[in-house]
């Protein structure tokens, strides 16, 4: 059986006599507070408290926070608009509109990809349903906003917001192209995509 060690009950404390234990416990607690207070006055950098939001606090990459869409190495979103995330979403918060991509290699792509973040329950089912690693939930947790805030995240915001420092290239990216399909002559401007730096996300 697991035993959890706790402080003895105050009336059993034996510094003076039963009944006075309360006073000694309160006094020792206040003493502790005073010591920490005085320490922090002198060495503020040693405290555990963060001065958020000036000081960032980073959660694990596995934290299910704000969504983002991953990119191909040519800068296009990986999403193929298959609707599996929208199908799997228990909160019905993903709205996709599919279209025909001018590049035949891509064929189908999301013209619009929107997440109604007020409906989202951050369950991560979209991430699990995605067959191409196009949507992930990232470590960003600060999503507070005002009444007039934008609560529907657009495709552009999901893929290219400032905090993603250029976007996240999916590791699943393969460069194999179908040899029988034409690539349009005016190729899309290949965007410079930096790798995903965890601590850059905020």
């Amino acid at each position: 059986m697991a035993v959890v060690k706790v402080a003895p009950p105050p009336h059993d404390s034996n510094i003076f006599q039963a009944g006075w234990g309360y006073i000694t416990t309160i006094a020792s607690g206040m003493w502790k507070t005073l010591v920490i207070f005085l320490k922090q006055l002198v060495h503020i950098e040693k405290t555990n408290t963060l001065e958020w939001p000036e000081q960032p606090s980073n959660y694990s990459d596995r934290f299910k926070g704000k969504h983002f869409l991953t990119l191909r190495d040519d800068g296009e979103v990986r999403c193929t608009a298959c609707f599996l995330c929208a199908t799997n979403c228990p909160a019905d918060c993903i709205h996709i509109e599919a279209g025909n991509h001018p590049d035949n290699h891509l064929e189908k792509f999301p013209v619009r990809f929107e997440i109604d973040i007020l409906r989202c329950v951050f369950c991560g089912y979209c991430e699990e349903a995605c067959p191409v690693d196009a949507i992930r939930l990232g470590p960003e947790y600060a999503m507070a906003g005002t009444e007039g805030g934008k609560w529907v995240y657009t495709k552009e915001y999901l893929a290219e917001r400032k905090q993603l420092s250029g976007g996240v290239v999916s590791v699943k990216d393969e460069n194999e192209k179908h040899p029988l399909l034409e690539t349009p002559k005016a190729n899309r401007n290949a965007k410079q995509v930096k790798s995903y730096v965890r601590h850059g996300v905020h």
């Binding site: 193929t80 608009a81 298959c82 609707f83 599996l84 199908t87 599919a98 279209g99 025909n100 035949n104 064929e107 189908k108 067959p131 191409v132 179908h178 040899p179 029988l180 399909l181």
Partner: protein, 500 residues
């Protein structure tokens, strides 16, 4: 002549007419035999080798689609070797199939997906890379062909040869390089091409109209009758009730149409969608100021106007032949029998060629219920006969004209012109679905109506057969009414205001 044979199917005695194949007998008995190339509306090809069944006493498995039932035969579809044949036949079909289900419109209603879950579930033994073939070929107005997804069942080739007799498609090359395609420089141009999308068991043919619009598992289908022409094909209307949107119309096996329907009929979902519908009723006040109102308000306004004139001489009806028999009955019961209205005219396209027929399904009469309207007119004791009567309406001298417009304006090239000329008259109440009526500033009074997929009733087709509408979708126009409901409201108003 009615010779029958009795044979055993999975241990159960089945009696069928002589000449019936095991596949047809199994379909009749609701025994599922997996198949790709067999289609009830096409000839037997026997190319997919998927419908293997075990006949006791014969050394090898045989294909059910080309096996005639014979007396005393003992057919089993669920023996171990038959099951294993299904499983590995499916792997052969999937050897070069690209598995791009995420971007394939067929996903959700795909034969390969369904059969993989029911008879497949193997671990692929294929290690070679897949053969790549041409994708996204433009082979017709409504067709996109992806030859990689094709499993060469040849249904489309047989459809072209046997049903439309155009023979535009063929299988070219051999072995694993074989592809379906059109002959060089030709395209499929006939009015039945989207049937190829329906019969394609995989996603090789996809419809340009429906392409990428919606995943099929979000859609609900409800049986209806096509309102596009007087053939009255049995159809399924596919919509998304949550968003009150319609996406497509597909044929359902029926007496009038067999297995097919035409592309014109497939467009009959478009006029039902919100963006082209009249959504609000409106009426015009005494000072000539037009304002939007509730449907009940517009009906009350109309009832007041009717009660202020002598209906027998001052009210005229202009009726299109695209509504149900039940609606016509209630309309004529009220206006002709109760109010004594004599001026009943028909809204028909002046240039229509009613007897035209393309030999397959599509008729020149683009009204679903021409015959039903004629019957209703006769029953009400009015002169029948199919004719366009816009001139008669203009000169009939009625103070109130109730124009029940065609449900589908697209089938009436002169729709806008007729509406415009009707607005010149004293007072016309439009009962309509068309949003164009609301945009026309000269229209004084309009009531939004329900579409064919949103009401119950029957059409009578050119041959006198009944086509049922009986499972309505929720209407995108929440306040839309059908003729019977408007008439009932008019009746109620008259009752509560003491006149008759």
């Amino acid at each position: 002549m009615s010779e029958t044979v009795t044979f055993k199917l999975n241990g159960k005695d089945v009696t069928v007419p002589k000449g019936t194949t095991v596949m047809e007998a199994a379909r009749r008995e609701s025994v599922a035999i997996p198949h790709f190339c067999w289609h009830p509306g096409l000839s037997v090809a026997g190319v997919c080798r998927f419908c293997m069944v075990k006949v006791e006493g014969r050394p090898k498995l045989e294909i059910a689609c080309n096996l005639q039932a014979m007396d005393g035969m003992d057919v089993k579809t669920d023996t171990e070797d038959a099951k294993s044949a299904h499983k590995w036949a499916l792997e052969f079909h999937l050897v070069n199939h690209p598995l791009d289900c995420p971007i394939c419109d067929q996903a959700g209603e795909c034969g390969l997906q369904d059969y993989y879950m029911s008879v497949g579930k193997y671990q692929s033994q294929m290690t070679r890379p897949k053969v790549l073939k041409p994708k996204m070929l433009d082979v017709g107005r409504d067709l996109v062909l992806d030859t990689e997804r094709c499993i060469l069942c040849s249904r489309c080739v047989r459809f072209e040869e046997e049903v439309t007799k155009t023979g535009a498609l063929g299988i070219f090359d051999r072995g694993d390089r074989a592809i379906i395609g059109t002959y060089p420089g030709t395209k499929i141009e006939h009015n039945y091409q989207t049937n190829l999308v329906d019969i394609c068991p995989v996603g090789a043919f996809t419809s340009r109209d429906f392409r990428f619009k919606q995943r099929v598992w979000f859609l609900k289908d409800k049986p209806a009758t096509c309102p596009g022409c007087s053939t009255g094909c049995s159809v399924d209307v596919y919509g998304k009730p949550e968003t009150r949107t319609y996406f497509r119309v597909k044929p359902r096996q029926g007496e009038a149409n067999g297995h097919w329907m035409c592309d014109k009929g497939r467009e009959t979902y478009r006029h039902l969608n919100q963006d082209v519908r009249l959504r609000l009723a409106f009426t015009t006040g005494a000072k000539g100021h037009r304002h939007e109102t509730s449907v009940a308000g517009a009906i009350e306004d109309l009832a007041k106007r009717i009660s202020s004139v002598n209906p027998a001489s001052d009210v005229a009806l202009l009726v299109a032949a695209q509504y149900t028999n039940e609606e016509y009955k209630s309309l004529f019961d009220f206006f002709v029998r109760d109010l004594g209205v004599k001026k009943v005219f028909q809204w028909r396209e002046p240039t229509e060629k009613i007897d035209e027929f393309d030999g397959l399904l599509y008729r020149g009469d683009h009204n679903a219920n021409t015959r039903g309207l004629q019957d209703a007119l006769k029953e009400a004791g009015l002169p029948a006969g199919v004719k366009s009567e816009f001139d008669a309406v203009a000169h009939c001298g009625a103070k109130i004209i109730i124009a029940i417009t065609p449900e589908i304006p697209a089938t009436f090239p002169s729709f806008d012109k007729q509406v415009q000329s009707l607005t010149e008259l004293e007072f016309v109440s439009f009962w309509t679905l068309a949003g164009a009526i609301g945009d026309n500033k000269k229209v004084k009074h309009a009531i939004p109506m329900k579409g064919f997929a949103e009401k119950k009733g029957t059409f009578t087709n050119h041959a006198g057969g009944a086509g049922a509408l009986n499972s309505p979708f929720p209407s995108p126009v929440t306040d839309g009414k059908d003729i019977s409901e408007i008439v009932a409201a008019l009746k109620n108003w008259r009752h509560s205001h003491g006149s008759r």
